[in-house]
């Protein structure tokens, strides 16, 4: 059987290659042999599905989901919202999105993060949600800060939020990062610059979306995600 939902081949020219020496950690973690290209079988076009009962009511509210005794995290209050679509422009509905980030000072709540900036007692830094029927999602958080990292001696990450997206096929699985409009660190960041295509980088930069802000309360940024599309082959081989 040839699956009817075959994915469009991934365009590797818009993705970072495995070996990008200016992001030094890739040097020892990049396969050197060519990937074997596989035509899709059921193994690639299927994927886990998640239900609303698995997601808690505060999972998409990073301002409140780690609150200790009603306190709130320090930082710029923002909403991040957008659509998940496939390359055919169709909404990807009911798909699980997970996000994680550092706090406003640039510190992650993680046993391995030893940056001098303090932890925020009211900020965990993770959230998740399912897209609705239109592929729309939103969550509330505080804007993450930039932080230094050990690559070159003076390397700094631009403010960013990590996104994990499932889609409905294992071949659509994607992890990426969202950046913020106007951040001067974006074009100096060895990790962002692993992406060889400038237009592809721009698709990871979320514009300020004043129309979606809550007046006197919370700013908003729009971030759309595009997953691989599917063949619309009128003839099956």
């Amino acid at each position: 059987m040839v699956p009817v939902d075959e994915l469009i081949m991934r365009d590797r020219n818009i993705h970072p290659p495995a070996f990008t020496p200016s992001y030094k950690t890739t040097v020892l973690r990049s396969p050197r042999l060519a990937l074997w290209s596989l035509q899709n079988s059921l193994s690639e076009i299927t994927a886990p599905l998640f239900g609303h009962e698995e997601i808690g009511p505060l999972d998409n509210d990073l301002i409140r989901n780690y609150s200790q005794g009603g306190g709130e995290p320090i930082g710029e209050r923002i909403i991040v919202h957008g659509h998940v679509r496939d390359e055919n422009g169709r909404p990807v509905s009911g798909t699980l999105l997970e996000f994680w980030q550092c706090n406003a000072g640039g510190r992650y709540r993680h046993v391995n993060d030893r940056y001098i900036a303090p932890l925020d007692p009211n900020f965990g830094g993770c959230g998740r949600t399912l897209t609705n029927d239109e592929g729309y999602y939103y969550f509330r958080t505080i804007k993450p800060g930039p932080y230094p990292w050990r690559n070159y001696t003076n390397s700094w990450r631009p403010a960013h939020i990590h996104f994990s997206v499932f889609g409905t096929s294992f071949g659509q699985r994607l992890i990426t990062q969202m950046y913020f409009e106007g951040d001067p660190l974006i074009w100096r960041d060895p990790i962002t610059l692993t992406i060889p295509d400038e237009n592809a980088i721009k698709r990871l930069i979320a514009p300020l979306d004043l129309n979606a802000a809550v007046p006197l309360d919370t700013l908003a940024y729009q971030f759309d995600v595009v997953l691989r599309g599917r063949h619309a082959t009128p003839f099956e081989n």
Partner: protein, 208 residues
């Protein structure tokens, strides 16, 4: 000028970074936030099939274990059917088996593991059945785009020899990188599946 094709472009991948556990398994980052978390136990008491553990270490190019990776697996049930509507094979679904799990690598040893069941054979393209296999996806700091591979089973030599995907791999010696070794450990069945990102014995990774 020609008409414009109306396709969007896929969002580019970025590394999962060193703190991927915060977003995917916060308990492994050192804190609790969700009521329901996702983990490495795929088989419940009701699940059909032979109980197995899959374990291994992901190694970098100098043979050091990755201790900050995230590994996800996706597999068919014991009858060889995926729990997904695109799988229309006439085989039973198992309501007690989603077929997906994730594991961090241990922060000291780098060991990852899954408690699951052995999958059945799934029909491949053109009516050629595939050998039982588990689909892997690996992300970590220093991995710019998630790596896809498959794990096959050492006790399925006949099915492996006929598998359409293993047979795509030109060098027979490289097929061995995808075959997990079965061990019986005091009644527990363990398949050992080490993954080498680079260098001697580099695992076969797929562009799926």
């Amino acid at each position: 000028m020609v008409q414009e094709l109306r396709y969007l472009k896929e969002s580019p991948s970025q590394t999962a970074g060193p703190y991927v556990h915060i977003g995917t398994m916060p308990h492994e980052a050192g804190f609790e936030v969700y009521e329901k978390t996702f983990g490495n136990v795929l088989a419940g008491p009701e699940t059909e099939g032979e109980r197995i553990r899959i374990e291994g270490i992901v190694y970098d190019g100098v043979g050091s274990p990755l201790r900050d990776a995230l590994i996800e697996i996706w597999q068919a049930n014991a009858a060889g059917r995926y729990n997904h509507p695109a799988d229309r094979q006439e085989k039973p679904l198992d309501r007690a088996f989603r077929g997906w799990g994730r594991s961090g690598s241990d922060r000291q040893t780098g060991l990852y593991f899954f408690d699951t069941i052995k999958p059945g054979r799934v029909m491949g393209r053109h009516g050629r059945p595939m050998a039982p296999h588990v689909n892997f996806w690996i992300v970590a700091r220093g991995i710019n785009i998630g790596l896809n591979t498959r794990m096959y089973f050492s006790d399925e030599a006949e099915a492996n020899a006929a598998d359409p995907v293993l047979n795509l791999i030109e060098q027979a010696s490289r097929r061995e990188t995808l075959i997990a070794r079965r061990e019986d450990r005091g009644g527990e069945v363990v398949y050992r599946f080490d993954i080498r990102l680079q260098g001697e014995g580099e695992t076969v990774f797929f562009d799926i």
